[in-house]
């Protein structure tokens, strides 16, 4: 389909042709022509945020909860620079995000014009790719290419910077290319895995005596089909399975073979199984430093298979024996097929012994905490939230810090795309806009942002967005009046000198909720918790739930910085002295 239209019209048409139904944005001088088209059309809903960073995270939440790309629209200059955090966040967590930014007219570019910044220069390192469109005749092609790049291969954020004169100019609109993967001249990621390597992998798996499946966000990015195939592979092989923070929900937390999350705040059994295994099958994960701990002591006696769509993930930090480049879904499909057709069987007696060992580690009960009937323990709060919401269609987002780790440890995810968290970049302020993005996409679902008292203030203005669009997101604040994770690290690293990690003068969250037009709760006693949570769920409005929790609780178990998987600090061993001496001088320089 080709027809004449203005650049601004092309933006709307291209979004619709790409199947976009919702965009998150904030107007400004350099995008006014596009906003003028938005108000005159139907079919594309625009959600007005209160800060461009909120638009970015909301688009991420939308993307993560639907599997579709998220779209944000911002103006030039500060609009674009405010997006940088969200773009970087999407880059590190491989979230498909298309950001369209306005730019000063082409003849003013480079002139230090009002609200001008070098958007493509600034966003170059934090996007998968970006474009400055100087000619309206290129606009439609670039917009379609942007969607292709954002969603194919390893997904990621892209920026299309559109000068204002290009938005006004008239040109020829072209629809999307039917087969963009074949048509693109240079970007054609490999989707199918090498057949011989996959067969090799299956043979190694059948021969393994102490295997583990280590999965990540790549499984979720690959789609629900990939998650289904992963579950099938687990039931065929009987292998234990663990996951990174980003991969939670690909395999159900209630599954028999589930070991819990691994890594710095992962379970003892997951980390010990990783350390002692003889075969590690890494599926759509990237050996991040939160996962590996000390790399020279990482799973020293295992062969490692690494399935990843991004060749640059292979051998980046950990050398692997068998890399398989391809989309997780396609590779798992081949694996399951070969396992079946060759009537492969896992080594039964070895697996029995392996599971006995794993059960012994499980019995260590590494997530244990001391119950308290006077003060709400943060872990208990998450457990109650989980118990009271698990039967619903619930989406959980988080901010960043202790509450995020407790949520990952204590909230059981049964389905993919239900868990929205900032893993790679660790962006405080992610959770509320992400929950809004998820709620826009799933109006009937329960969307809860598990937050901390410090994080929530970073994008609290988005309460106003939630109220405007009738999005009943629930913000469940574990309020300990500290930046809990910062405080914990000061205790671990800096002799418990709590430098600026205590938040004096926190707002009254109940009044704050009311000021925005939402509803506020404050709960201080464990006995009141269940009733208040149920009340919160029943309210069809945005809620700030100020859950006062034990101020000085630490998040355990933990692999202290610079330590290996088998050197975890467990909750029952973590007395003050152990905590103060957990990290060596070398580990202190690590993050």
């Amino acid at each position: 389909m080709t027809r004449e239209m203005t650049g601004a019209e092309m933006v709307i048409q291209a979004l619709k042709d790409q199947g976009v139904d919702t965009i998150f944005g904030y107007p400004g001088g350099a995008v006014l022509p596009i906003y003028d088209e938005i108000v005159q059309q139907e079919g594309l809903e625009h959600i007005l945020v209160r800060h461009e960073q909120g638009a970015g995270h909301a688009a991420e939440g939308y993307a993560r909860s639907t599997g579709k790309p998220g779209v944000a629209l911002v103006t030039s200059g500060p609009g674009a620079t405010n997006m940088v955090t969200a773009l970087t966040d999407a880059m590190l967590d491989s979230i498909p995000l298309v950001c369209i930014s306005g730019q000063v007219p082409t003849h003013l570019i480079g002139n230090d014009a009002f609200q001008e910044c070098d958007t493509v220069g600034i966003t170059r390192p934090c996007t998968k790719h970006n474009w400055l469109v100087r000619d309206v005749e290129d606009l439609a092609r670039v917009l379609h290419e942007a969607f292709y790049v954002a969603t194919s291969g390893r997904p990621g954020p892209v920026v299309v910077d559109v000068p204002k004169d290009v938005q006004f100019a008239t040109g020829t609109y072209q629809g999307p290319t039917p087969n963009p993967a074949a048509a693109h001249k240079s970007y054609r990621p490999q989707v199918k895995g090498d057949a011989a390597s996959i067969r090799h992998a299956v043979e190694l798996m059948a021969a393994a005596k102490k295997p583990i499946l280590y999965t990540g966000g790549g499984v979720i990015n690959s789609g629900t089909q990939a998650c289904q195939l992963l579950r099938e592979l687990v039931s065929l092989t009987g292998f234990p399975i663990t996951s990174t923070l980003m991969g939670l929900g690909a395999y159900p937390a209630s599954g028999d073979n589930w070991l819990g999350m691994l890594g710095m705040h992962g379970t003892f059994e997951a980390n010990m199984t990783m350390h002692d295994c003889d075969l590690m099958v890494c599926i759509g994960a990237r050996f991040d430093d939160r996962i590996t701990g000390r790399t020279d002591a990482f799973s020293p006696n295992s062969r490692k298979i690494h399935i990843d769509i991004d060749p640059s993930s292979i051998n980046k930090t950990i050398n692997v024996d068998l890399p398989i480049i391809g989309d997780v879904g396609h590779v798992l499909e081949d694996m399951v097929r070969i396992w079946r057709s060759s009537s492969m069987k896992a080594d039964e007696s070895a697996m029995k012994a392996w599971w006995e060992q794993i059960d012994a580690w499980r019995a260590r009960n590494s997530l244990a905490y001391k119950p308290n009937s006077d003060v709400i323990m943060p872990q208990h709060a998450i457990q109650r939230l989980y118990e009271l919401t698990k039967h619903r269609k619930t989406f959980i987002s988080t901010e960043v810090g202790q509450h995020q780790m407790w949520a990952a440890q204590f909230y059981g995810f049964e389905e993919p795309n239900r868990w929205l968290t900032s893993g790679g970049l660790g962006t405080m302020g992610y959770g509320l806009p992400a929950a809004i993005g998820a709620q826009v996409a799933h109006r009937d679902a329960l969307c809860v942002d598990i937050a901390g008292d410090a994080s929530i203030l970073m994008n609290i203005q988005e309460m106003s967005t939630a109220v405007q669009y009738g999005l009943p997101v629930k913000v469940f604040i574990l309020n300990n009046q500290y930046m809990g994770m910062v405080r914990q690290w000061q205790q671990l690293l800096h002799g418990n000198r709590l430098s600026h990690s205590y938040t004096d003068s926190l707002p009254d969250f109940v009044k704050l909720a009311e000021a925005y037009g939402g509803v506020g709760f404050r709960v201080e006693k464990p006995a009141d918790l269940d009733g208040a949570i149920e009340e919160m769920i029943a309210i069809d409005k945005p809620v700030l739930f100020d859950c006062r929790v034990a101020n000085l609780a630490n998040c355990f178990p933990m692999i202290p910085s610079g330590k290996a998987h088998n050197e975890m600090l467990l909750p029952d061993e973590a007395n003050d002295e152990a905590v103060a001496n957990a990290i060596s001088a070398e580990g202190k320089s690590l993050v």
């Binding site: 390192p125 992998a201 060749p311 292979i314 480049i325």
Partner: protein, 190 residues
């Protein structure tokens, strides 16, 4: 991005990983579009990789393709990372490690040349000596007055380095170098 650059060794390869620093010459075919060089350079600076030399020019005008030749140093693991990271850039069509190609063909190195313009000023014996040495190195005099020469010299980096070192005591004023251009030996292209 082309996955053929990924080595898919057998499950039992894991040769001893070398931590020796090596110098490799990479050849990239990229779309000649605004910002493409910034993407390549930004990747090196952002990830802390080294650039010893970088040469770029459009080589296929009809297709608007440029060829970038980069000489870099690092451990084999780092060099492999650099190759994959470059390959990930959307406007990059192809990344080839010419040093690895040469090794596989049992050759010492790929064909590498650079050009330098070397200005030398002086008189008397020094001037004569400079001219004589220029001749020995097959450098061409492309500009001269009674008290200076500008030599044009091409060759491998080591030859250029040697020539410059020799000219230093003879009145070296300045040097401009192109950086390395490289191709693989034999009939095949990239």
């Amino acid at each position: 991005m082309n996955a053929q650059n990924v080595d898919a060794p057998s499950a039992y390869f894991l040769a001893e990983v070398s931590n020796e620093i090596e110098t490799h010459t990479l050849s990239l075919l990229v779309d000649n579009e605004p910002g493409v060089l910034a993407r390549v350079i930004g990747l090196f600076s952002g990830r802390g990789y080294n650039i010893d030399s970088l040469t770029v020019s459009e080589t296929e005008h009809e297709k608007h393709l440029s060829r970038i030749t980069i000489v870099t140093t690092g451990t084999p693991m780092i060099i492999e990372q650099i190759r994959h990271q470059l390959d990930r850039l959307v406007p990059v069509h192809r990344v080839t490690d010419l040093t690895v190609r040469a090794r596989r063909a049992n050759q010492d190195k790929p064909l590498e040349r650079e050009l330098a313009l070397v200005k030398v000023a002086g008189d008397g014996d020094k001037r004569l000596e400079a001219l004589r040495l220029g001749d020995a190195f097959r450098a061409t005099v492309i500009d001269a007055t009674t008290d200076h020469f500008v030599f044009e010299i091409t060759g491998r980096t080591s030859k250029i380095e040697q020539f410059i070192a020799i000219m230093k005591p003879l009145g070296l004023v300045e040097v401009s170098r192109t950086g390395v251009a490289a191709v693989q030996r034999g009939p095949e292209g990239l």
